[in-house]
């Protein structure tokens, strides 16, 4: 059982994601970016390198200066997304990352540097990021 959000939880998802070859095709594949996540006052950073998500770490607000883009939603929205993925073995039509991004007034993905080429990596690698979070369906998750 892993607590969401925590580095342990991201590590367990990484293990599932990195071990499954299906995520390397079907629009997945090489992915090179550093993505941040602001979840309930905490900051996490995932590093994607080639086929792998090679690292998960906890950071702070300053860490977000250096990521290519970061995703930010209220804690309940994150929890809702993760629970939806677990219940449906993958996000349903209303809980994919892109849908959540466009459904929100301020969007889900943003950056501090404002360089759209780096922010665009969220779109360019969207299927990989979706595969990553969908892989969390196999991780037993508890919420605080």
């Amino acid at each position: 059982m892993a607590l969401f959000p925590s580095v342990d939880w991201f590590d367990e998802v990484r293990n599932v994601f990195n071990a499954d070859d299906r995520y390397r095709g079907a629009g997945g594949g090489y992915c090179n970016c550093v993505a941040g996540f602001r979840i309930a006052e905490k900051v996490f950073v995932l590093t994607f390198d080639g086929f792998e998500c090679s690292a998960a770490a906890e950071g702070d607000d300053g860490t977000l200066d250096d990521v290519d883009f970061y995703l930010e939603m209220p804690a309940e929205a994150w929890r809702d997304m993760v629970a939806n993925i677990a219940a449906n073995d993958g996000a349903d039509l209303h809980h994919t990352l892109n849908t959540l991004d466009l459904d929100r007034e301020d969007g889900l993905a943003t950056s501090k540097h404002g360089d759209q080429v780096r922010e665009d990596l969220f779109f360019r690698y969207n299927q990989t990021l979706q595969f990553f979070f969908d892989a969390s369906a196999l991780v037993e998750t508890e919420f605080p």
């Binding site: 629009g27 991004d101 759209q116 080429v117 665009d120 360019r124």
Partner: protein, 353 residues
Amino acid sequence: MSEAANGAERELDLGWMDRTGPWETRAEPGKYGLTIADISIGDYGDAPEVSDNLTGRARGAAARPASYRIGAYAVRSKNEIWLDNASFLYEEALQRQWSSATDVPWHTIEPLPDDVEQAECQLATFLTEVEFVAGDVPARWVSLTTPDFYEPRQVLLAQVMDESRHMDVFRKRALANGGGLMQATGATSGFVGSIDLSRDFTEMSSRLHVSGEGAVLTLFRMGELMAQNEAEKVIYRLCAQDEARHVAFGVMHLRYMSETAPERREEIHCYLDEAEGGLIGAANPVGQLTPTSESMAIILGGGKENFDDGMNKIIAIRRRQLQEYRKRVISAGFGERFENGRSRVAQMIEEAA
């Protein structure tokens, strides 16, 4: 001397063995395999600033002095087409291909209300039409570019493959659920088609990659938002990924051009003036009320009766589309147009508010 099968003796001409490019090259695979960045070593890695190669000779191969010209290559100056991350974009494009036949869960499409299905088919008709242009135009420019600039050519060739998949996947969608193609929208004879009138690669790229495909990227993301089933979700998400690579090509090329040919900056601003015109016209389904924006509002609202709800969502997304365009142009190095009053985009964003 060697002996042929019939026993006759034959003189071998081994002169070709001495006619090589740089030799003893040992490219080694890196952590991503043997990429074209890994073989960009020694003289083979050097693209000339100006290419005099008119014979189709592979860059680095020994020249044949007597060979005739095969390509009337118009693009022979490096800064006309170059970008810093072409090798990377090309390998990424190869890695992230997908099949419209087998990677889309077509079985998840179910009958929709008539007005929604008609709207889906209208949008699919428009997109199929637009993708023809997106494939044809880069293909033409590949044939006009010296082989010495093979890295950006490879990216454009990968783009042509992507666009051909986009063309077929929307055609498949139109024919998959009891509808069919609707009336041609005329997009190919409007702004979208006019991309093909460009006489300069950067002019084409600023219209196609930065303005046009940037807008289409938002459109695809919006398609994912309004998908009625998992199949449409996947179609639009995967098309958006491809589109983001095409946009990255254009922005990175503009950036290279801006840094290496500052004397052409004013000319590029003129191309951007024209490209911005395309963001308000009928070629942009979230630009103004057209058959495509009407159909999108019906899909987003969930039927004709909720048209206004759908339209409000379109307007919100139009704003996002314009903001992203502005930030891409800033990233490319042409941000002053938003400060000195030249660009109308800020006003367009306000009007969309």
